[in-house]
């Protein structure tokens, strides 16, 4: 990946971004006189870490609004004040890995520093609203969202959507990360595989095309489905209430394991408190068998259709 003397301007994650490299996930835009970017991203060979950290381990160094994480000897990221991302790259790190972590973990940290809530989910449009699918990594969020997309629902985001707790209407703001599916999931859905999503041989995920099915505007978020695996061949959807509802949102915040290093617990509590009244959260339990994927999608679709009629 090549640094450039010229600074390019882009649009990504609803923000204006400047970068000294080709930011391939973002949309190039023309500069506006007198306007400053929301975020600057710098590709650099200088590996600089936070000066006064309160936390330090083999992979993370955290200070106040200054977070550094190391991916490998050749690649590390430093995010400061929700406005600056430095990418230390020795030259041997591949572009796909740089992008994977930039639009993933690094941007997630940036959102946390800005007081936003990145939410670990895939999301689709249902009528004039959006619904999110969340759960542990590998739970099937991307696959289910892709399956619903194949049935005509608009695709909003994959892996991360950003919530703005202080906004009047709760919308899920997409990050333009593309849709990544495991090879067998893409094959099951008959979706052509594009380029590979990373260089790790164990990460057998590929980008698939969503362009013709992207949601055209940001839709209010109304329902969240937390995905669980059924031990039998049963399907069920049940409402989550009370403390479990609170925890469903809290535990599926993107990079929640880093939250104690990024935000005050009280601020996160109040953000969730603001969001919950406008949300219904459900537990969706179904078999993980890819051979039953069509049945899973059909079962979820009946709930979505009944919701769309009453929304």
């Amino acid at each position: 990946m090549i640094c450039s003397e010229a600074i390019g301007l882009y649009r990504f994650g609803s923000m204006t971004v400047s970068a000294n490299f080709s930011f391939t996930h973002a949309t190039p835009i023309d500069p506006v006189a007198g306007a400053y970017p929301d975020v600057s991203i710098e590709l650099t060979r200088k590996d600089e870490t936070p000066k006064s950290p309160f936390y330090h381990d083999d992979h993370i160094i955290a200070g106040d609004q200054d977070f550094y994480f190391r991916v490998s000897d050749a690649l590390a990221f430093r995010i400061r004040n929700g406005a600056h991302i430095s990418i230390y790259c020795s030259g041997s790190a591949g572009e796909s890995d740089i992008m994977l972590y930039l639009v993933g973990s690094a941007w997630g940290v940036l959102c946390h520093q800005r007081g936003l809530l990145p939410f670990h989910c895939s999301a689709i449009g249902v009528g004039n609203n959006s619904i999110a699918l969340t759960g542990a990594s590998g739970a099937g969020k991307s696959t289910l969202a892709a399956g619903l997309m194949c049935r005509g629902y608009s695709h909003i985001c994959d892996d991360v959507g950003v919530l703005r707790p202080k906004a009047n209407t709760v919308c899920l703001h997409p990050l333009e990360k593309g849709l990544k599916l495991w090879a067998d999931a893409a094959n099951t859905l008959n979706l052509p595989r594009g380029r590979r999503a990373g260089t790790d041989p164990a990460f057998d995920k590929y980008f698939v095309d969503t362009n013709s099915r992207l949601a055209q505007s940001e839709l209010p978020l109304k329902e969240i489905f937390v995905l669980h695996e059924s031990q039998s061949r049963e399907f069920s959807v049940s409402v989550i209430r009370g403390t479990a509802k609170f925890d469903a949102l809290l535990s599926n915040i993107y990079r929640s394991e880093w939250l104690p290093l990024l935000r005050k617990p009280g601020d996160v509590f109040q953000d969730i408190q603001r969001l919950l009244p406008s949300l219904r959260i459900f537990r969706f339990t179904r078999p993980r068998d890819l051979g039953l994927l069509d049945d899973s999608i059909s079962f979820l679709e009946t709930h979505l259709d009944s919701y769309a009629e009453t929304a």
Partner: protein, 101 residues
């Protein structure tokens, strides 16, 4: 020096910690301890106990209140209340407030 876990003495007064935030959700109260980030939810009797801990109160006095309100014998009530309050104390949701009442 490690802080020793507090022992719940039936006559010593305890009270809710001030280092918490809480919200009501679907008939439950959700409480977060701000220093630890731990979360606990309480409904029904647990919520009643939490309400009673707003002011300093001993385990004995709390048990006496609950026995008057619920159809439960004193021994069972004391045992269950002790268990619940001890868990709150261990997680710092409640704190000792002073000498025996």
């Amino acid at each position: 020096m490690l802080k020793q876990p507090e022992t719940l003495v039936p006559t010593s007064k305890i009270q809710r910690s001030t280092d918490v935030l809480l919200t009501e959700l679907d008939g439950e109260i959700v409480v977060m301890h701000l220093s630890s980030g731990k979360i606990i939810g309480m409904a029904d009797t647990g919520r009643r106990v939490w309400d009673a801990l707003e002011a300093p109160i001993s385990l004995n006095d709390l048990t006496d209140q609950l026995v008057m309100e619920y159809s439960v014998d004193k021994e069972t009530c004391f045992s269950e209340t002790h268990s619940f309050v001890a868990s709150l104390l261990a997680a710092n949701f409640v704190v000792p407030t002073g000498p025996e009442g």
